[in-house]
């Protein structure tokens, strides 16, 4: 070590260094700001239907955005890229996981590209940040993932409909199941943002009502938790009967692998909403994920003909197993096509489009798809799944159907911890 003899007469000062580094970092951060401006315009009646996609194509949720896009394109191709007599055109924008970036991209799509409607949105924080813009501008947003509970409740607007889930849905039924089947003292670990908070209150409500007790809650840095070791030590120290967690994308791999590295897997049962061990992250988690039980509205091995056809086609197209995000993308595209057919391609009147949405029903890879009109969100079965080895490969095997569940539409079935 030791370099006390090093002399740098020609060296730059720290101030120069910070200034030059600052210019570059600042310039890249400002780039998206320079894009959007132009008159606000409604949808049109002729020409291609322009659909704006607001999805993360970078950062820890990049694969979620890619999966949704691939499956949407797959469905549009199945119907010949046409709906309601008009061709379909996609305009993709990268929201990262940043609410402010997403807001700029939304303005760019609506005001500059003059899209007829917008679809996508992965992060709950991003969805909440976009809500007022779509509400005020009466622009239709079909949400393909972000489950922020308030969007089905006190922050509901006629112009945002979800084809995915509310965060409450995959968590609430698992709380009761866990208290009855696994243990009574739970420790919760979630990322420190909207979806994490929703996870805590949804799980806690049914878990506590079934006689369980929440002995600790851990909120980790979002989007990147960095070194997970301190959190593992905290869990080991708490000695709970079970850990309930929600992580998705990159953070899911970090958390589940560290849980096994620190010898917690196998000693303290790990349960979660299904995103944490979905097919997009399972290969990277490997054996570390074995035995993790989770609730979700779909599983790769779900036995129905639409799912079999979908999973096979998706694998052929992308070379990877399908995941729940792809299913939601596929259903989002289908909902859009069904809606455009019903309004005969006329996107000038947003209220007409919204009016036909509650009636749309079809067989989805997840089973029957239908909206719950009150929560503007699907009413769907939640399956309890366990990661097991199937023919030498890890998959989520369904061990119980927890029933068809719709979001309550208010906070009556949530518990603040």
């Amino acid at each position: 070590m030791g370099d006390k003899k090093t002399v740098r007469p020609s060296g730059m000062s720290r101030r120069q260094f910070l200034r030059t580094a600052g210019i570059v970092v600042g310039a890249t951060a400002a780039a998206p700001l320079l894009s959007a401006c132009g008159p606000l315009a409604g949808g049109r009646a002729t020409g291609p239907v322009k659909i704006g996609l607001l999805l993360p194509y970078s950062d820890i949720y990049a694969v979620l955005g890619e999966s949704i896009t691939a499956a949407m394109e797959m469905y549009f191709e199945e119907v010949g890229n046409e709906a309601g007599g008009r061709t379909i055109e996609l305009i993709k924008e990268d929201t990262e996981i940043k609410p402010d970036v997403a807001q700029q991209k939304a303005r760019k799509l609506v005001e500059q590209d003059e899209v007829d409607l917008v679809a996508g949105v992965v992060s709950s924080g991003v969805l909440l940040a976009l809500r007022d813009y779509f509400d005020a501008n009466k622009k239709l947003l079909i949400c393909a993932n972000a489950g922020a509970n308030p969007i089905s409740r006190d922050r509901k607007t006629p112009y945002i409909w979800r084809t995915s889930f509310s965060n409450w849905q995959p968590n609430w039924p698992v709380g009761k199941w866990a208290a009855e089947n696994v243990g009574k003292r739970a420790f919760i670990s979630v990322p420190d943002y909207a979806a994490g908070e929703n996870t805590i209150t949804s799980f806690a409500h049914s878990f506590v009502n079934a006689g369980g007790e929440i002995i600790g809650v851990q909120r980790t840095p979002f989007p990147n938790m960095g070194d997970p070791a301190p959190f593992m030590a905290e869990i080991a120290d708490a000695e709970p009967d079970l850990v309930y967690a929600f992580y998705s994308g990159g953070a899911a791999v970090t958390f589940v692998k560290a849980y096994a590295d620190f010898g917690l897997a196998g000693n303290i049962p790990l349960l979660s909403s299904g995103f944490m061990v979905e097919e997009d992250v399972l290969p990277a988690q490997g054996e570390a994920a074995l035995g993790v039980r989770s609730g979700l509205h779909w599983a790769l091995l779900l036995d129905n003909p639409v799912n079999q056809a979908f999973t096979a086609a998706y694998k052929e197209r992308t070379g990877r197993d399908a995941n729940v995000f792809a299913v939601q993308g596929y259903d989002t595209a289908r909902v859009i096509v069904e809606m455009l057919n019903r309004v005969e391609g006329d996107t000038t009147d947003v209220d007409k489009m919204v009016e036909v949405l509650p009636d749309i029903q079809f067989d989805s890879p997840r089973g029957p798809f239908r909206f719950d009109a009150k929560s503007q969100n699907p009413s769907q079965h939640i399956y309890l799944r366990e990661v097991r080895e199937v023919d030498g490969v890890l998959h989520n095997v369904i061990i119980e159907d927890l029933g068809e569940i719709a979001d309550p539409g208010d906070n009556s079935k949530d518990l603040e911890v």
Partner: protein, 288 residues
């Protein structure tokens, strides 16, 4: 108390991982006066090459050797064709623009080749498993990172302080013209230092992969972390990078353990305080 000791151990592990990450950046800045904003990209590239080696040949140890060699060779080429034109006292902005542009291109190329899925690298068989430390089963691989960090620090220190090559390197940054006049090819020296610096980044990429995994975007996370370490420690001094790593590693670990809501911001707060008290960093040279 037990928790405190375990978190101290976690902090030490993360500090030493940080040092292996930051050593190359510090070396290139200290000995060449070049700010390499593509440092995180060399880290990530090293990690992914390591991943490919582990998948194809099944050997983590081989990955530890090959990834730094490949990335080091790439560094040599980049230095020869581009960076060499950008040396000099008033060219820091050029260097920053060049290396940052390189980082953006590298991010896309890496994603193009390895995809956006998170990838993980298992630790070598020899170092998998755990040792019980109080209530925690501590992973052996993480403990071994402490030894790696200390060895690397001592090795680099000896290289720079106790060898003829080290003397030439140090002389080169002090007065390149005089060194040239003594019949030493200063270009070769700088090329060698740059290659060594990026090879160290690649080595860190392989070492860090079992702990932090590999995914697009990690390159800029690593860049920011290592910049913080190097600025806190004092720009360009190896001793500074070492103690900067310790300070930031401990701040990160204890922040997560006791103030998780502020964990993201805490290391920057530590940086601000250090710079207020010691504007050149912990071991920086005054008045340059």
């Amino acid at each position: 108390m037990e928790t405190l000791i375990i978190q101290l151990l976690n902090g030490l592990v993360f500090s030493m991982l940080l040092f292996t990450m930051a050593a190359g950046l510090s070396l290139i800045f200290g000995q060449m006066d070049v700010i390499n904003l593509a440092h995180g990209s060399f880290y990530l590239l090293g990690g992914y090459i390591g991943l490919t080696m582990v998948r194809r040949l099944g050997s983590f140890w081989l990955a530890l050797v090959v990834a730094p060699l490949v990335v080091g060779a790439l560094g040599l080429a980049l230095e020869y064709f581009f960076l060499r034109r950008l040396y000099g006292r008033h060219r820091h902005l050029d260097q920053v623009l060049f290396t940052f542009g390189l980082a953006l291109i590298a991010a896309d190329l890496i994603r193009w080749n390895w995809g956006a899925y998170v990838e993980s690298v298992p630790p070598p068989e020899l170092l998998s498993g755990q040792i019980p430390v109080f209530t925690v089963q501590f992973p052996v691989y993480r403990l071994s990172l402490i030894a790696v960090g200390v060895t690397l620090a001592l090795g680099l220190g000896l290289l720079l302080e106790r060898t003829r090559i080290g003397a030439i390197i140090r002389a080169g940054v002090a007065d390149a013209e005089m060194v040239s006049a003594l019949g030493i090819d200063i270009h070769k020296v700088f090329a060698g230092v740059f290659a060594l610096g990026v090879a160290l980044a690649a080595l860190a990429g392989v070492l860090g992969a079992p702990v932090l995994n590999l995914y697009p975007g990690l390159d800029f996370e690593i860049l920011i972390l290592t910049l913080v370490v190097v600025v806190v420690g004092g720009l360009g001094t190896l001793r500074g990078a070492f103690f900067g790593s310790l300070l930031i590693g401990m701040a990160d670990t204890f922040g997560k353990a006791f103030l998780p809501e502020f964990a993201l911001f805490l290391i920057f707060a530590v940086m601000a305080v250090v710079l207020l008290l010691r504007p050149s960093g912990l071991f920086g040279l005054e008045g340059t």
